[in-house]
Symmetry: D2
Subunit: 392 residues, 4 copies
């Protein structure tokens, strides 16, 4: 049998824009590894126009796409999230059956990544989970830990994350601390960009209003929280009212498709139609690099995105973190927590953020080499073990 | 709002024969609770003729069925297991959306129960998991623990199981030790039946051969192991050869639909067609009570079923446990472990089992009151908490 | 068996706003028939917020909804149309299995109505098809005739439609000319409304711009054509440019979810963002009655909707019909055909329409009593025949 | 654009054993055409072990398989037939989206072929339908004609079939009479085999009983009729009783998976277990060639299969055709119709068949060159037309 199948087929499933951003540096490293045949499967919101068609960006980055999968069931409510996951399992099991990967990589904790985890683990294909062991406060929490229990190999961001994964019963020998790959982009941005060299409004196709002087600006990224759907709209309204009153330009990023994004959209539409968003410009998509460069030039980020906690800690950008969505996540000194949604508190926090100014890099989530480390662990994985488990 | 909706709608999803057997005593208790509206959803192999159409037994036990769901995708391999689960999510989310339960109950760890867990947890319906925290050695292991991470309330069989669930990060206040409901049936059987009062061959529609004298007999229950599919057929052959050589009647129970059951069926067919099964009679289905009565009258049980470990420890029936499927599961003195499949080892173990004879009840898995305890915990669950989470 | 099951369960599946409008008068008649138990199943775009959540209108009309089904797969391309239909079959077969209708009614020819037709016909439930036998020029054509071949009873709009259905091999005794139920609403509107009594902009939640004087206006309804997807955007642009140049208010109705609607949306967005739509106001939804009242008060309708051909012939409202979508459909004198998309031709046709003015009612598509006739045919259907075919 | 894409990608979807048999000669011809890239997709029962895993035979015939699809939903009832079709659409649309065929070929009229027709036609891929325009008496009838209305090109078996297709409104220029490809195998068998040269029992893995002298034998092929499911079991019993009383060996072929096959299986099992099938041997599968050779050596065929009408008319083998399943199908002189299931009538018909003996070839369904003709039509199809329609 000697020498038979030297090359490992590693299949990475991408289901959303932020997942791609995070895994991108690792993908470049994997693509350059001669012992690895990289198989990219693009699914869920990553194939949809409404969410910026990530699949096009992937191809323009030079990656070949093995299969695209349409599995998003419309509704943007909790029923359609469940159905999207179910349809994802049905579709991905066919894809895996056809392209026969030696291992499957799934990223983080979006609800539909459960489809990747179930298809792979049920088909006895070794499952590698990136970014397990973290703690947040919503359905993602359940999904993340459930995937940990389905995965065979865990590539985590921090020692504390490793500790949690092991405590959940996983064999310590299967858990590797690689840092968070999202920090790699931040590292690159920090090293190569001093200031914003492009006009985001000219480069990216958005809608909204701009101030004459937009040298100073804040970035907003606010997601609906799936366990608080009814609150999503009120929360959006609060953030809108707060940033509408700031004396600077606001760049607002549209959230991913999720139960609740419907309410978010509605509230934004009402504000826009009533001409209340005079200093707000809305984007749907931006390349990961440009997005971080934009953040780097901002006064601060406002919202409940994990970008504020991870990338911004490394970039040293102040972050006004709203509500419970990031509760329990390890954080650096750049974070100002506003647990209750309140217009005045957000406005006050902006004052604080300006005073704080930009900080030095916090290495909490990695040192900018996660992509290489992830690729290196995957490359080193014991082939015999894999062969033993692989049974279509 | 005072007094609005006094009755909790509790939805129990049944997907296979053994799950029904285990939950049956709890279902009777729930049905008698005036504060609970019981909703039974019957899905997967429990609606199929090939697996004895459990749905008919449920109705003849006096329960109303709220919905039946056909979600088994044919193939009986790892791809079809994944697809069955995906289709289950799609179907169950529609059902839950229509019958709007206040909480959903899922039982144990069969692969397709993941569909119940995902549909309920994604829809923010409180999920109650029965029989989490146990340890075995196959894909069920992954499924069981992943469901624990998706569930809100855990009703476990033993203090050790509770310990494991808590170690995985669950709030101890959400974990209740109720004992295993399967022991309730064993308890009833032990109290009310001294000896076999019915002829299983006359009462149940099976196929195969019977010895003239079948006062002494053994029961076989052997499942394909999903992480060892290619071995399933060889293992079946080994068990067949061993029991064919025993001087007593053999009652063999057909396995559930699972990746690998195809290979099992083939091997059995070959033995039957070559007239090698002269002392073996095959059953597809039997009422839980009758099954335990049959076990109680047997010399021993042979195979890899958890019945051998749980119910038989309480019944005191010797169990010859084969291979790794039950590895790590807590066990009583009735179990003779045969880790490697070997004809002579099984034959020798039968000699040992006969010597051992029947033992006194081991309370390891409960005291026969699990059904009542489960119903009582569910009945007591804080309504406010549930209402807070429930958002369609 | 005498007298057993006197009441027929008639299940009507609604999948989109226009289907509901057309069947509404028949539904009221069916609801009042004591021999009929009406079961309404609402699916596809009719349950989605993005398309005006028709299900809410149905309930506010006083109908009980037996089940809602989320089966739209996102993508708005040809792949997602196919998948939406596949998922619809899966979901509807479960629903039919649970509510056990004696007959199923499907309306017209939208792609996803094939799901209703297949689920019902495969389950041997007698299928009643409304509006078969017509001729148009797109994928709807294929769908309509394929459904005719799956249906058992055909309720058609015109004698010519009957002729076509019979020519396709259907038994003439199963084909009934009832007129088109959409005319019933037109009839009611014509009898009871002389002029617009409500302000559409105040009553309905749309977006866009209004002229100071909007006494005169035109209505636009333009659908992407599924066999010309790549052209959909250019066609939309052409219509936008034409109506932007008219000296009157334009009320534009958003198209249904279809392969191609993505391109339509994009073009509209660009025009809006570039402030080119100064006289255009966009609606997503309107009650069928109000919509026809609005049409009745308009100078003309512009686009490629069948409303222009059917309802407007009865209302006597001039219709500028664009492209091939309605090719082959029988039409009255109110229709001005513009086969090639061309800005100037549309502008010229508007001049012609103004000259023409409103006409007297054309009875081509019915006399306003189709709803009653449909209900009466369904009520009279031979029970024995139905019972013979019905086998779950 | 000159010369761009010279090779047409022709995708043939195989969903069952008999479909493969019929299309096989055309597949060989297509494979040898340098202007055609043949894409084989194997789905439904053709991938299942229970139905003889046709996919293996396809590969051993030297064809490459582009994708396999598991879409059979278990249940073998009308609900699961509908769901199988729905899941087929979901799966096939992904496959078509990935392998991007220029045209899709679907064969005959099994219920699940509707999935092929819908996926292709909804995706605007030209659809070629083989064997449309025939007439039989069950759900296949509806399916066959509905597919005709979805198809773009029709390759039919007889001039009368062409006439019917045209009458249904199809453009005569799209309908080609090629003969039935099943006759090609019959032609080959007739030319090359004078008598049975192999022992079917030794060559094929079946079960059952054999007579000492089995020089004379009959072949049985009896399908459940989906519009008469409740009758399927009684019909099977009648055929069993009739052939059990014949003084010759019986070779009985297991039916395909269909609503109703469950009842058939049950009845056969009961007869076998009661030792009533002393002269019956059961096969699941046989190569198309061997099957026809077996037929050629038989006294007659008994049942309701279309093989009796088509292939046997060419082979000149007497056929006892039972019930309504083949009603309306054009037939030769070899057919003895027994419209009502009745044991004595079947026994009498056997006497008649023996008297009749083998006849000369009837060219009703073709001259043995259908495969070549089909390939030749497909090869000649106007590329421009195809390109115009093709829009993913």
């Amino acid at each position: 049998m000697g020498g038979y199948r030297n090359v490992k087929k590693v299949c990475v499933v991408i289901t959303a824009r932020p997942s791609y951003s995070r895994i991108r540096s690792a993908l470049f490293a994997l693509k350059n590894d001669v012992n690895i045949e990289l198989q990219l499967v693009v699914a869920s919101s990553a194939v949809l126009d409404t969410y910026g068609k990530v699949v096009k960006q992937i191809e323009s980055d030079g990656f070949a796409v093995s299969a695209t999968v349409y599995n998003v069931v419309s509704g943007e409510n909790v029923i359609s999230s469940a159905k999207t996951t179910g349809l994802g399992i049905i579709e991905l099991s066919t894809v895996f059956g056809n392209i026969k990967p030696d291992m499957v990589v799934t990223i983080a904790d979006r609800f539909e990544t459960m489809a990747t985890a179930i298809a792979a683990s049920y088909m006895n294909i070794p499952l590698i989970h990136i970014q397990g062991g973290e703690v947040t406060g919503n359905i993602d929490e359940k999904v993340r830990h459930a995937i940990t229990k389905l995965a065979d190999i865990h590539l985590v961001a921090t020692p504390k994350a490793k500790e949690r994964v092991v405590k959940m019963g996983e064999n310590p020998g299967t858990v590797y601390v690689t840092g968070c790959p999202s920090i790699d982009i931040a590292d690159n941005v920090l090293k190569n960009y001093k200031k914003l060299k492009f006009d985001p409004i000219k480069k990216y196709n958005g809608v909204g209003n701009v101030l004459e002087n937009r040298d100073r600006y804040v970035v907003v990224m606010q997601h609906p929280v799936t366990t608080e759907i009814s609150a999503a709209r009120a929360q959006t309204r609060c953030v809108l009212e707060a940033v509408e009153s700031l004396p600077v330009q606001v760049y607002w990023f549209w959230p991913n498709v999720d139960a609740g994004s419907d309410g978010v959209s509605k509230e934004i539409r009402i504000h826009r139609e009533n001409n209340m968003t005079k200093n707000i410009y809305f984007f749907k998509n931006m390349s990961p690099d440009d997005f971080l460069v934009l953040l780097l030039g901002s006064d601060c980020i406002i919202g409940n995105s994990s970008v504020a906690i991870r990338e911004c800690s490394y970039l040293g950008v102040p972050a006004i973190n709203l509500g419970n969505r990031q509760i329990g996540r390890e954080r650096g000194k750049n974070v100002i927590d506003i647990p209750e949604y309140d217009v005045q508190s957000i406005v006050d926090a902006y004052g604080l953020a300006k005073q704080m100014g930009h900080l030095t890099s916090d290495l909490l989530y990695g040192d900018g080499k996660a992509g290489e480390k992830i690729a290196s662990v995957i490359s080193s994985l014991d082939k015999i073990r894999v062969d033993k488990m692989l049974q279509y």
